[in-house]
Structures are given as structure tokens and as C-alpha cells.
């Protein structure tokens, strides 16, 4: 970013309409004269994402969510720094079963006599991995297939949408049982096994949402305008259609992130989740369900951790959507 650009940014009133026009119509050479008047010609043109970033940095919503996400990531990478007890090396003592908070054990104990706080901290990595990477996976597969299907239409749409229908109808539980016993996973079930399964069975939803959003936008005036100004079909998809279709995709993706973390718990509940030796919020929530009425705390804390994580991603999504939406900015 050039210093020149920073200066311009401060003149918000005069800058904003100009920037927007520049990006959503065409090159300066093709822009109506009265608009070019107000464009600072020597300013380095910002990409869509560059501009979004510039907007993001100033939003409190973004700053809070970014901070929370940083904390969550730090906990997943270095759990040992946040907990004195390492539940991976110390086995739980049944004598402590369902005991309340004690010195060094601020959140009490589970039915198996494990320290709740240490398990929440050490469970973060698996859960965040499942949530984050499954979301990235489904966004990549579902986003691309959905966008292509919705934008190009015709037989491409027919084929992709029908494949989508088939995958949508496959019962997750059937697929999960089959995949969990494949020779490569049979003796070595990790969070990545679960990520793979959830991606395979989760992409159709994002694909449908993307397809719907793209269909809504593809006939919009600015797309037609861009196409008639010579932007290639693919270029229009990437530069004009996708950015304007992102809002519903972001909403579904950020909620799905939480849904995937919870899905791991539900799969455990149905008996096909991660082995109990893998520490995760989902496994702990499932294990605590058995004593929910007598001791709800071991269930509450991982659920709170999960909710905070989801909240931070939802806020990040909101901030990102606002930053990407030129219409919302004009107020």
C-alpha cells in the first residue's frame, strides 16, 4: 500500500463513490467522464480484497472476532501453555468422579474423574481442526461446483446438480460407518478421517447455496454490463458474480463450522465418532450426556467453548460480508 493511498483513504466522503464505480464498472478508459473527474489517477488500484481488508481493519466486530479466533488457535496449537495438567499423560482417577471445583481444578471433574478444564483446553485442537478444515473443504468443493453449476447452467448444471442430489441423500451414518472401517482408517482413526467424511457428506449443502446465490446474481445488470464491456465469462464469474454471492455462503459456512464440531459429538453419540482416546469437545459433550441431570457442568463447559468459537467465526463472517458489500458501505 502506497502512502498516497493512505492519504486518500482519509478523505472518505470524496473517495468512496469513486472507488466503487471504478471497480464495479470497468477500466478508467471506459468510464463516463463525469466520474473520472473524481478519480485520483495516480493511486494504485486496489483489488476487491484489498479494499475489503482496508474496511475490515476498522471494524470493531472484526477486531473482537479476530482476537477470539487468535486465542482459540493459540490454545489449539499450544494447549500445554494454558493448562498445568496434561490429560494426555495423566490418566483420570475414578475417585474424583463428578467432584466439584477444587484447588488447581477450577471447573471440577467428569464422571471418569478427569479435570474438566484441562480436557476443554486439550480438546480444542481436535474440535477446531474438525470445524475449520471441514468448512474449508466444503467451501472449496461445494463452492466451486455450485458456482459453476449455477453460472453456466445448461447441461453442466444438470449433471452437477443431480450428483449433488445423490450425495445429499446418502445417509451420513452409512457413509461414516463404511469409511471408518476402510483399511487405511481402521486402526488409525484421527480427526482427519472425520474431516474427510464430513467434507464428502457436507459439500452438497454449500454447493446448493452457492448455486442459488449465483443464479440470483448472474442476470444482474452489472454482470450484463461487465460482459458487454468485454469481460470474459469466467472473469465476470470471478470478479462480479462471486463477490456479490458471498453473503449467504458466508452465513452458511460460519454456522456450519459449529455444526461440524457438533456433528463429531453426534457421531460419537451414535457410536461412530472418534475413538475415546482422542480428546475433543464433541467426545466430552457426548460422555457428559450420560450424567446430564446429576452433573451438567462437564457438558456445559465444552459447549460454551464451542459456542464462543462459533460466535467468533459468525462475527468474522458478518464483518467480512459488510466489508465486501459496497452497498452496505455507502451509509
Amino acid at each position: 500500500m502506497t502512502p498516497d493511498y493512505t492519504t486518500t483513504a482519509r478523505h472518505a466522503d470524496s473517495r468512496r463513490p469513486a472507488r466503487r464505480t471504478e471497480h464495479f464498472v470497468a477500466d478508467v478508459s471506459e468510464t463516463p467522464l463525469q466520474v473520472t473527474d473524481r478519480v485520483k489517477d495516480e493511486a494504485a488500484p486496489l483489488s476487491l480484497w484489498g479494499e475489503a481488508w482496508k474496511n475490515l481493519r476498522k471494524q470493531p466486530l472484526f477486531l473482537i472476532s479476530a482476537f477470539l479466533i487468535l486465542v482459540v488457535v493459540a490454545v489449539s496449537v499450544f494447549p500445554g501453555m494454558f493448562s498445568q495438567i496434561d490429560p494426555t499423560s495423566e490418566a483420570c482417577q475414578l475417585a474424583n468422579s463428578d467432584a466439584g471445583p477444587a484447588a488447581g481444578h477450577p471447573l471440577g471433574f467428569t464422571q471418569q474423574g478427569c479435570d474438566v478444564y484441562a480436557r476443554v483446553i486439550f480438546g480444542t485442537r481436535s474440535s477446531v481442526t474438525v470445524g475449520l478444515f471441514t468448512t474449508i473443504g466444503v467451501l472449496l468443493i461445494g463452492g466451486i461446483l455450485g458456482a459453476v453449476a449455477g453460472y453456466y447452467g445448461g447441461w453442466i448444471d444438470s449433471v452437477l446438480a443431480r450428483i449433488n442430489d445423490i450425495f445429499f441423500a446418502l445417509p451420513l451414518i452409512l457413509g461414516a460407518i463404511v469409511m471408518m472401517q476402510l483399511p487405511m482408517f481402521r486402526t488409525n482413526k484421527t480427526v482427519w478421517t472425520l474431516v474427510l467424511i464430513l467434507v464428502i457428506f457436507g459439500w452438497p449443502q454449500i454447493a446448493r447455496i452457492t448455486r442459488g446465490a449465483v443464479i440470483e446474481v448472474r442476470n444482474a445488470d452489472f454482470v450484463t454490463a461487465a460482459r458487454s464491456l468485454g469481460v470474459s465469462k469466467f472473469g465476470a464469474l470471478m470478479r462480479h458474480v462471486m463477490p456479490n454471492s458471498l453473503a449467504p455462503i458466508i452465513v452458511v459456512a460460519t454456522i456450519s463450522l459449529g455444526t461440524f464440531i457438533v456433528a463429531e459429538s453426534t457421531l460419537s453419540f451414535l457410536g461412530i465418532g472418534l475413538p475415546p482416546s482422542v480428546m475433543s469437545w464433541g467426545n466430552d459433550i457426548q460422555a457428559a450426556q450420560a450424567s446430564l441431570r446429576s452433573n451438567p457442568m462437564p457438558l456445559l463447559y465444552p459447549a460454551i467453548a464451542l459456542s464462543i468459537t462459533v460466535l467468533s467465526f459468525i462475527m468474522l463472517g458478518d464483518a467480512l460480508r459488510d466489508a465486501l458489500d459496497p452497498k452496505a458501505r455507502k451509509r
Binding site: A91, L94, S97, M180, T187, L270, I272, A290, S294
Partner: protein, 546 residues
Amino acid sequence: MRFSRTSKALGMVAIAALALTGCGASGSATGSGSTGGDTSKVILADGSEPQRPLMPADTNEVGGGKVIDMIFAGLVSYDPSGKPVNELAESIEGKDGQHFTIKVKKGQKFTNGEAITAKSFVDSWNFGAAAKNAQLSGGFFESIKGYDEASAEGSTVETMSGLKVVDDQTFTVELKQPESDWPLRLGYTAFVPVPSGALKDPKGFGEKPVGNGPYKLADGGWQHNVQIQLVPNPDYNGPRKAKNAGVTFKIYQNDDSAYQDLMSNNLDILQTIPTSALKNFKTDLGDRTINKPYAGNQTIAIPEYLPEWSGEAGKLRRQAISMAINREEITKVIFNGARQPAKDFTAPVLDGYSDSIAGAENLTFNADKAKEAWAKADAIQKWDANKTFTIAYNADKGGHKAWVEAVVNQLKNTLGIKVEGKPYATFKEARNDATAKTLTGSIRAGWQADYPSLYNFLGPIYKTGAGSNDASYANPTFDKAISDGLNAASVSDGNKAMNKAQEILLTDLPAIPLWYQVAQGGWSDKVTNVDYGWDGVPLYYNVTGK
């Protein structure tokens, strides 16, 4: 003699339950003999959808078994303590334990009017055993002479040579070899007679079974996945006469939802309190609960085909594992008294049970001795420190996860080795690895008695080459001891010999006995006179309204 043995065991259990829970309200079952109560009440009980058509010899799981047991009556049935009492049998006589003469009571009828004769029994048993009819419980006839010919794959033999009709009311049975406890088995559902129509159209019969038991299926009574309605059979005159106006089994997908129904009086009897309610049910239900041991146990089988678990080192390691498990603590904390620490390989309600067989100390928690045994094994054959000992279980039903985790933690704490629970997604997958002998570690096992006999807990599981021998245990001395028991002149001599055989098992520990099953059930405030049988199933016929 048998009765006193059982009641003594029950007394001990009640004391144990009191001590475990520290709560005086437990173990108070309403006496089964008591009279009174409203006999016009239809009892709503929990059930599960039968896996197969309701054909006695084709049913081997609880959902269907419970119904079959109520709509059919065999030669004998078991009283609440597990003692056989005659139903259709006038007499069962046999001196050498190999040849039996069975007389059937006169004038007995199926609910369709067909008379029950000696031929009904012989035909039904032959049908169950013949391979061409593919009946799941056919194996129960295996002791009868001629079974092997009839049950061989592709066999066209439809009758067993050991069964002979003498006259309308009499038939004789010849076994392959002497088995003193054979008459005890005759109360199992596979041995009941079915009407001749059933043999012609087993599938159609299985939808609308016609029996001779204390109840019969109501018209259109089996609403699949929803409920099975039974109404009393007015012609039944055996010992299990219905004291209510019928029993409706509501089909539940899990015990948790059934428990919610029980609490809100939408269900009258729940056979098993779900694990999620073990800590609350005594407050929820007050004295409307039962806590009674029954003929079942849980074990961990450790296959001897795994190199670390074979030979002398394997034996020492199994002893170490056994002594590293604190059964008292787990039954108290995890099960809240719904299990009792095991002292042998059978169950305390059985005739001949003993809690002080030599070697029983191997089943008591002793961290020092466990470590010592493990070290001794290490001296013979070193345990690879990177190796993980796994305890496999099926995660689809049964709620095994919590106790497996508790055992895992205890083993880790005591022996300092790597231990993990290994969930199988389905029961099917677990059974497959067990029967194909492809287990990579131990597997949870358990046994619910088919008939009240010590042999039933030993022979089918630990005899060399036995069908349920998941541990692939093979010990000729043990086999010999078991057949001595079967050949014994009397049941009580037989029991002594069986316990002798158990001494071998308690040293070898092909499976590690964990705990005995305890029936923990509850009922609504609309019913009374609830008691459970020796097999942990409520005596539905005895339940009345309030």
C-alpha cells in the same frame, strides 16, 4: 436345596446393594406371591422390535424372546428363582443322563384348538434342527442324537434319530452323550411346541403366531416398530396364569425415551433403567424400583492367538490385568450399583454358585500383585512399551463406553502401559472380528443365561472349539473337568465338578470376569406386584393394577 441356595444369594445381594448405595430404599421388590391388585389393568411395558418372525426356534434376541416366552409354554418353565417347574410336562424321567422319557399332560391345546401331543414336540424340535429350515436357534438341539445329520449344510434329513414318539402323550429322547443338566434347558424358548400349521408356513405363522402360553397375540396385535399387544389366554392353566388384562409392549428405540415415558406414567414397567438415569431413578421413582441380580455377567475376553497373550507370560499378564481392575469402584461409581463385582465365571442366582472358589482372589483389586505379575511376565517375554492394549466394544448399543474408559484409566494408572478403548461402529463388525479370529486386542464379552445352569456359562464359551469361544481358549484339563460335570450322577455333584473346572479358569483367565448383571428396573404408580425373574426379565404375568 436349590431354592435355599438362591435365596441366600439374594440376601447377600440386598446387603451389598445397601452398602453400595448407602440408601435404604433399594432392593425392595414387591413379593411375587402377594395377591390383590386390579386384574383388569392392561400393562404397558417396554419392548424392542423382533429381529425375525416370531417363530420360537428362529428367535434368539430379547425383543422377540420376551414375546415368545409369554405366548408359548414348553415342557417346563422357570420360577422366579430359576427353578424349573412343569408346564406341559407330566414327567421327565432319565436315569443315565442320556436317555429321557417325557410324558406330556393330557388335554392341552393351542389357542387355535389343535391338541398338543408328543408328536407336536417331536415335529417342532425336528423342524428347528433341520438345516433346510434355517432356524437361528437350531443349535439348542445339538445334544440330541441325529442332530449332526439333520443340521449339516445342504442336508435333506428332516428328523433327528434321537427323538421317538411312543404314544400320544409320550416320547423318548436319546442324547449323543450323557448331559446331567439337559432337562434344565427345556424351559428355553426354542423347545416349545408349535402347531402343525407353523411348520407348513413358518413365515406367515411368524407374523401371527398361535401359541399355548399365558398370553396370546391380539388380533392385528403386532404393529411393527410400534407395539405388540398380548391378551390373556383363557385356556392356559399352568403356573404363569395372567393376573392382568393383557400386556402391551411398546417398541422403544432406546431406554432413555422409555424412561421419560415411565416418569410421566405413560409406561408401566421399564425393564432396564438407562445409564443416564442411574443417579436419579431412586429419587424419581421412590420405592417403585427393583435391584435384583440375574443370570448374566460381563467379561473381557483376551484371545490367546495374540502372541503377547499366549503361554505362561500371557497368563501372568491376564492375571495382572485382572488384579489391576478395581471392580468395586467401577460398579459403584459408573454403574451406581447396577452391577456386582464378579467372583467367578457364572452368576450368583444360579444353583451351585460359589463366591469362594480357589483362585477367586485373582478377581480382587490388588495393585502390588498386579504389578508383580506384570513384571514376572516381562521377565519371560518383554512387553513392547509402544504397544497399546485395546479393549474393543460395540458402540451402537449397550452403553459400554463409560465402563471401558474407566477400566482403561485403571489399567493405565496401575500398570503404566498404554491402554485404549476401541469402539466398533456396529455389533455386527465386532462379532465378525471375534468369530473370524481377527481381533487385535481384547474384546468385551458377556453372557446372558439361556437356562439356569452353571454349565451354560462355561461349556459354550470356554470349551475347546466351542462356538462362542472368542478367546480361542483350549485346555484339555478344563474340557475334561467340564465333561466330568456333565456326566455326574446328580445336578449337585455336577455343580461341584463345574466349580472344580472354574478353578482352572480362574488361573488361566481366558476372559477376565468383571461383574454380574443386576436388574435395575422401575414401574409407574399405576401398577403393583412387580418382580423380576432369574433372567432379569419382569414377571409380566404377575403384575396387576393398583
